[in-house]
Symmetry: C2
Subunit: 453 residues, 2 copies
């Protein structure tokens, strides 16, 4: 931390600019790595531009791809790629969580006491310990996922090497919500395998639910084991988890209602329900599929696009505007319509500042995605639905696609790369990135009233 | 006023609910009127449901139609219809302006002094005088428009009766931004007539720029004539007018850049520019066309849809989220990114309350239009672009369409009717309509910090 602190001071870099700088570096290095022919299958070639796209997609754990990953890369390439999205996924969790903790340190004494209790902050100190903790947790999850999947995959693949490779890649890709696959067709070969889908759902949820949430659950379990009382989940944890699961159920129900007699018509109701759940989980950021989603009806695709735009929880491997932004925004509108002065939730109040922030994030996100769709509508010849779906998928770092990624023009690919990058660093960081240093109000003007809406 | 005040007190009705009640009544009466066979051409028939659609479209001055107006109604019917959208247009201007004035009366003494100066409020008192003033202004504009257009129309129509009928209808429809037409094809017959388009542009702008703005310009002209000094335009007037014209220019430039070599390819550059300006003005709420807009390319249609969503200025005949909402929202994001504490514009500050309000309006508008598009995607078999265009047109009470209105299913028509109604009364009124009475904070909770975006 002290090295980073000094760097920030000396170079006059804001922490956000530093994070973005790290990301740029990571993308450059990853592009160089993926462009090494050593990692390609025989006879395959990969342009620098396609390497860049793949690197950004991996670092941002999106999973959109302009190349058939399984055909271009060899086994060493698979490992290289998985290391890149592993780092991308863990990187953002660490940095997101660090920002979350730093936020708690910039506030008044009275509030700090309250928040200190609220956060169970005593459990961690310092970025290094935090990174270690995140790394440990994620690796344990991935390891368990790998073992379980690999053993099961012995039923599918000829050699145990192939089964373990597939199990390893699938587990890391699901846990980091990367959405890459080396089956060539995501999880479509396991469309009837409830076990694989169940494991994938668990892994994707653990990766998308937010690292602060995982820490709190861990602490809660430890306290329970030690019969230590007084542990309280934070309001943040309650709000983000509730929103996460409400969106999950919302998505599942809507997809089930629409597709049960359409895309899932030949499935029994429980498989149809599982498929609906799987797709709902996938839109949170996982990006895996068990069927060709282009066969879904338009209303379903609208819902999927909407869910991708909201994305995962903060400090998770997912993107989008984040669950908390969506929740605070909904609560604000609800409370405003109710004529209430403050936003109350779980016996806490949401600050004015966070309310404005969530609206700013929403507005910027809508503006950016709209501009992206507009630009694509000029450069590409796909339908608005296909283009919007691609943009929301990139912004949500989800990686679902109606199959147009590889057919995008150069400008189209650049637009998608920019959206993946912004989706990854988050709107909030993006705004600080393009902003000037904060200024103090040197003078004030009288207020003017406006007619709004 | 005292009668209305008593009604509000006795019936425990909020002013907003009263306004909505008035609108409901107006719609019912208009439906009944339009359903009288006396107003139909021989051999024509009009169902009650289609009468309802036409009535809502007229009261909300949208202009979307499920029937060919020119073929269904006779001359008496044209007059009946024009009276209905005349009342709709003037009604909303009156009520909007009244709300604007009332806002100025509910605030503290110090602020009231500032605003009182700022608003030049001394110029009007009482709703009746205000209505009279609006009626006068609009009728004068319409009269001038009618005389100019009718005389010019003598070149087009065989009889002077027909020319004056067309001139009357066109002038009222343009000034109230109703968007209805009895030519059967809007202004397409005048596609090469720069004079007609110029007059239409002037009339549509006067109707969409907001009545408070018209009052202020009037007062400014009177003061100038009397060599009276000290007049200052209000911040609201400056902001809404600047936004209005910036959007106008933005729309014109974008449409020109995209369509100059496409839809306008056979036009000289100045005609192409005028066509671009005309379409840009039209999206503000006018809803007239000089060519088949379905022939525009997709990027242009996206821009048109975006402009319709924003809509016209508050207290005008137009709908949408309104120019001020859009301006305050953009200024907020800009100031937030700049790290500023307050939003300064034209040497005034925009209150926190108005900021939140504009975000609430935006969020609700996006949610409602999204739900509408989702429902239409289930019930209709048109492309997302066509459906979204129709929904934004209804919400912006613009009335432009890619030609699907008459082909909508019953549920589709109901959705469009609801959107026209909400677009008309405004999101702000809509929120108050569905909300419970304001409550006081009886207790407070400590603040919880959130990770946003
Ligand atoms: K992903
Ligand atoms: K209109």
């Amino acid at each position: 931390m002290s090295f980073i602190n000094r760097l920030i001071k000396n170079q006059n870099l804001s922490p956000v600019k530093l994070i973005v700088l790290f990301y740029f570096l990571a993308i450059l290095i990853s592009t160089a790595i993926l462009n090494v022919p050593l990692f390609w299958q025989e006879g395959q070639t990969l342009s620098l531009f396609d390497s860049l796209f793949t690197a950004i997609s991996a670092i941002s754990v999106t999973g959109l791809s302009v190349i058939p990953i399984d055909q271009v890369f060899n086994t060493a390439g698979y490992f290289a790629l998985s290391f890149i999205f592993q780092l991308g996924g863990i990187g953002i969790m660490t940095m997101g969580t660090a920002i979350y903790l730093m936020l708690g340190k910039k506030i008044g004494i009275r509030e700090r006491q309250l928040i200190s209790i609220d956060h169970n902050q005593a459990t961690f100190s310092g970025l290094v310990r935090l990174t270690k903790k995140i790394l440990q947790t994620i690796l344990v999850i991935e390891l368990v996922g790998m073992v379980v999947l690999s053993i099961h995959y012995l039923n599918y693949f000829d050699t145990w090497q192939e089964a373990w490779l597939q199990g390893y890649f699938a587990s890391v890709s699901a846990t980091t919500n990367a959405g890459f696959h080396i089956t060539g067709v995501s999880l479509i070969p396991f469309a009837d395998d409830y076990f694989v889908q169940f494991i994938q759902i668990i892994l994707m949820i653990l990766g998308a639910i937010g690292f602060p949430v995982l820490i709190e659950i861990q602490q809660w379990l430890i306290d329970r084991k030690n019969r230590k009382k007084g542990f309280r989940f934070t309001t943040f944890m309650k709000l983000t988890t509730t929103t996460y699961f409400l969106l999950l159920i919302f998505g599942m129900v809507i997809i089930f209602l629409i597709e049960h007699n359409l895309a899932f018509a030949d499935q029994p109701w429980y498989q149809s329900l599982l498929s609906s759940l799987f797709n709902s989980v996938s839109t949170r950021s996982g990006g895996q599929i068990t069927s060709n989603i282009a066969e879904f009806s338009t209303p379903t695709l609208i819902v999927l696009a909407f869910l991708m735009f909201i994305g995962a929880s903060p400090s998770s491997a997912g993107g989008g505007i984040r669950t908390t932004t969506f929740a605070v925004m909904l609560l604000s509108v609800y409370n405003y319509a109710k004529g209430r002065q403050s936003i109350k939730v779980f016996q806490r109040e949401i600050s004015h500042r966070d309310t404005i922030r969530s609206f700013v994030v929403l507005t910027t996100a809508i503006s950016l995605t709209l501009i992206a769709i507009f630009v694509l509508s000029i450069t590409e010849s796909f339908s608005i639905l296909e283009l919007a779906f691609e943009v929301f998928s990139a912004f949500g770092t989800t990686g679902l696609s109606l199959g147009i990624t590889a057919e995008l023009s150069v400008i189209g690919r650049i637009v998608i790369m920019v959206m993946m990058f912004i989706g990854r660093i988050g709107i909030f960081s993006f705004l600080f990135l393009i902003s000037s240093p904060p200024t103090k109000d040197l003078y004030r003007y009288p207020e003017a009233r406006m007619l709004i809406g």
